[in-house]
């Protein structure tokens, strides 16, 4: 069975880009539009890896990561954060919250897939 990746991003464009890149690489892709939604999809879909954006309505990426890390059931799931290179501060905050790694936007599909394989057991 192929690995399930949950992507959390409020931008439809970004979600479609992620889906295209990940589905091409053979992953099963499930998507959510913000952190709160992400938590719900997480319960239903049990992904092996999560890729999340930071700036989102309702619950941002930091809040989402903290929630996942605070939950016994999901704390071991690797979380990759989508960030811009210029934003060292956000990257650090995401790490403090418990992000496993980060992907720099605009991302290169191959690097994205590599990054996921890097953290996936």
């Amino acid at each position: 069975m192929s690995m399930t990746v949950l992507t959390v991003d409020d931008s439809r464009t970004m979600r479609e880009m992620l889906r295209l890149a990940l589905a091409d690489a053979g992953f099963r892709v499930v998507q959510a539009e913000d952190g709160l939604h992400g938590l719900e999809v997480l319960q239903a879909e049990k992904p092996q890896v999560i890729v999340t954006d930071i700036n989102m309505p309702r619950m941002d990426g930091f809040g989402f990561i903290e929630e996942v890390r605070g939950d016994q059931r999901y704390r071991a799931i690797p979380i990759l954060v989508l960030t811009t290179e210029s934003d060292a501060e956000k990257k650090n905050r995401a790490r403090m919250a418990g992000a496993t790694g980060w992907i720099v936007k605009p991302f290169n599909p191959d690097k994205l897939v590599d990054a996921i394989r890097r953290v996936a057991a």
Binding site: E40, E85, S86, A88, G98, T100, W102, P106, V119, A121
Partner: protein, 736 residues
């Protein structure tokens, strides 16, 4: 479509949504909204546009969005105060951003005339250096900044070229779902590795803290790799582990810049990490530790070694684990309803929807035909067939309504374009204006919305340019300097009503009447009610060059607005109060697929006249009808004369006119307010009919707008009132 091109389209669609969000957020803030979520939403809109632009390498867009985003971020964090001036600049920046998005969409990405000025303003506002090179600053690599430091050069041990990596994870590394095993796997990709596990810190099982990390590894990598590649493997765990990389250089032990740099970096942030490097295998071995025996075991493959750590965690963690299954179903249930929201919208080709609407139209007709047949067969109304048919009818109507609703969209999409227009016209006229919108969520057919943009644009321009007085005049009249233009939408009796109102001076009736007389639109001696005078502005040819400025001008008068509204099956009128302002009211059908029609007959043919065009119906009296010679006639209605048009003759059904007293006259109002009376044999009734294009199925026929199929299965033509009136008037002119 190639998937990337499709995503590109999605991006531009999303940009439009975000631009709308941006603008409405800024406007809300201008109106005093202090909700932090509003400014967050504004920031996110620009941030998302920048992100997508980055993916598609739209450079001009990225550059502008970046400066804009930075300024918004400063505003969000309170470093730039939210003042009306700042918001005005932000709104102008939003307009430029919108232009840049559209230019990028068209592929005509060029410098925007206002962009560089705004960039400077935004930078000045947010303290960004005016001349900084953004490309360098933003996308450059910040990780490898040179810094001065005194470093002890490690002794390079003699031996084959390669690296020795000492790696000791901290608990944080595992807490972030990083995995030592995976890092070792990555390292193994770089070359031949020999992995040595140091488990001497592992305490007795009873003392193990599941959150802590006890294992350390020493990895010797040989082969063609460099330190940067090794550092990259550990990029995500930097700070969550102790890491020491030493080059096993060739025997000469030469100066290795990469390793120096790496050491500088490794040690620079070490202040808060306590003693930097704990050497593996140092000092005494804890004899009590059962696992200490493992220590000397060299592991050529990385897999066996880390196998110890994670399972330990899960075994010990099994105490709190039983809580999980209990929590799960509950949480699942709570998450249930939202799950469907994930797929709350789907994109469907418009053609498919229209095909469905078409089919449902057929179904409605078919159902009506069936109902009529059942009636004709003489079945009792209480019979099972008739009752089943009633249910079918109800169901059919529901299906029809639901299908029509698919095409319905909120008027928001067209209302959203207006704030910018208001800003532009306000700037051009020098009149401060506030736009108030209401009922943006009101839904109407997509095509109606699309065709509303032009008339609305024109009316709003007019409202500001002609409706509102100058600030001085307003002050003299005791009004606030800022004029208000209101745009409202609501549903009323199965139609959508859109109102454009202003709080200006109202229509100058004397002047309007004067112009109309001067232009020969009304007789000088005519007595007109206030309402009639107000509606003169809709007459073709009323628009006056002398009065029209280049804002509301553009060669379009209110007659064009009226015509476009009528083309949508709508009506428009104006109510004006001197000194208080004017309100234009448009009433439009919710859909263009069905029509409220009056079914009439002419010379045995069944025809449908759109109800919206009919002002009243009357039984002509012999003394009111006057012949003008030939077949041309006029009918006197309340003292005025209007042409009486025999529909049967106009469409060529008969050669000789119907005696007026034998028929019924429909007083209709065509485009530009011209009136005429259509003479038909009889009125059969009023009903909603499904419009079938005649052009698509046959060809265009003058005087016929479309066709429909009636309950008895017969085709009925829908009259094109305007053409009939225009053609008949031509005939009449010839006749007289």
């Amino acid at each position: 479509m190639d998937p990337l091109a499709a995503i590109r389209e999605t991006f531009f669609q999303e940009c439009e949504e975000q631009l709308a969000e941006l603008e409405s957020g800024l406007l809300a803030m201008e109106g005093g909204d202090q909700d932090p979520e509003t400014i967050n939403a504004v920031f996110r809109a620009v941030h998302s546009i920048k992100g997508g632009a980055g993916a598609f390498q739209l450079e001009a867009l990225i550059r502008f969005a970046h400066v804009f985003e930075t300024a918004l971020d400063e505003m969000r964090s309170g470093r730039v105060p939210i003042t009306p001036d700042v918001l005005k600049t932000m709104l102008r920046a939003a307009d430029v951003l919108a232009d840049l998005v559209r230019a990028a969409h068209d592929g005509s990405e060029t410098e925007h005339p206002l962009a560089s000025g705004l960039v400077d303003e935004l930078k000045a506002m947010s303290g960004q250096a005016a001349d900084e090179d953004e490309a360098e600053e933003d996308w450059g690599d910040f990780e490898f900044q040179p810094m001065a430091a005194a470093v002890d050069m490690p002794e390079a041990p003699a031996g084959p070229a390669g690296f020795v990596v000492k790696f000791k994870p901290r608990g944080d590394l595992y807490a972030k779902a990083n995995e030592a095993a995976l890092l070792l796997r990555e390292l193994a990709r770089l070359g031949q590795t020999v992995v040595e596990l140091d488990a001497h810190e592992v305490p007795p099982l009873t003392e193990i803290d599941p959150e802590a990390a006890y294992l350390a590894w020493t990895i010797t990598i040989s082969g063609d790799t460099d330190e940067i590649a090794i550092r990259e493997v550990f990029e995500w765990v930097d700070g969550d582990c102790e890491l020491e990389i030493t080059k096993q250089g060739p025997a000469d032990g030469g100066f290795d810049m990469a390793s120096l740099l790496a050491r500088v970096q490794d040690e620079a942030p070490a202040e808060d990490e306590g003693p930097a490097v704990v050497p593996a295998n140092a000092g005494e071995v804890d004899v009590a530790s059962l696992i200490a025996n493992l220590s000397p075991a060299a592991a050529p493959e990385p897999e066996p070694a880390p196998a110890i750590a994670p399972p330990t965690l899960s075994v010990v963690a099994s105490a709190p684990a039983p809580a999980a299954p209990d929590a799960a179903p509950e949480a699942q249930a709570a998450g249930g309803p939202r799950k469907s929201e994930a797929g709350a919208t789907i994109r469907v080709d418009l053609d498919r929807v229209d095909r469905l609407i078409d089919l449902v139209g057929e179904l409605v007709i078919n159902q009506a035909v069936l109902a009529q047949r059942v009636m004709e067969a003489g079945l009792a109304r209480a019979s099972a067939v008739a009752m089943g048919l009633d249910e079918l009818e109800q169901l059919t109507r529901e299906i029809q309504d639901s299908v029509m609703a698919i095409r319905a969209q909120p008027v928001k999409s067209v209302f959203q374009r207006m704030p910018r227009l208001v800003r532009e016209v306000a700037a051009m006229t020098g009149k401060p204006v506030r736009l108030v919108t209401e009922g943006e969520g009101t839904e109407v057919d997509k095509t109606v919305i699309e065709r509303l943009a032009d008339p609305l644009t024109h009316m709003i321009r007019n409202a500001i340019d002609h409706g509102l007085e100058s600030p001085e005049k307003r002050a003299a009249a005791g009004k606030p300097a800022e004029g208000v233009v209101k745009l409202a939408a609501f549903h009323r009796s199965g139609r959508i009503v859109i109102e454009v109102s202003d709080d200006g001076g109202g229509i100058n009736r004397e002047r309007v009447k004067g112009i109309a007389i001067e232009k020969g639109l009304v007789a000088a001696e005519a007595t007109l009610s206030d309402e009639e005078i107000d509606n003169l502005i809709f007459m073709p040819g009323f628009s006056t060059a002398a009065e029209v400025s280049d804002i509301s001008g553009r060669g379009v008068g209110m007659d064009v607005v009226r015509r476009s509204i009528q083309a949508l099956g709508g009506r428009i009128n104006i109510v004006s109060k001197p000194g208080k302002g004017s309100t234009f009211t448009m009433s439009l059908p919710l859909t263009l697929a069905v029509l409220d029609g009056m079914v009439v007959s002419a010379h045995g043919q069944t025809l449908v006249a759109p109800i919206t065009a009919i002002v009243e119906t009357l039984q002509p009296k012999a003394e009111d009808v006057h012949s003008l010679g030939g077949h041309a006639r006029v009918i006197s209605i309340r003292g005025g004369f209007v042409p009486l048009i025999d529909v049967g003759m106009a469409l060529g059904y008969r050669r000789d006119p119907l005696e007026a007293t034998q028929g019924v006259a429909l007083l209709i109002e065509g485009e530009g307010g011209s009136r005429a009376a259509l003479l038909v044999d009889a009125i059969q009734g009023q009903r909603q009919v499904v419009i079938k294009s005649l052009e698509a199925n046959y060809r265009q026929v003058p005087g016929v707008a479309a066709a429909t199929i009636l309950g008895d299965g017969r085709v009925a033509l829908i009259l094109d009132i305007d053409t009939i009136v225009t053609v008949s008037r031509g005939d009449m002119r010839k006749a007289s």
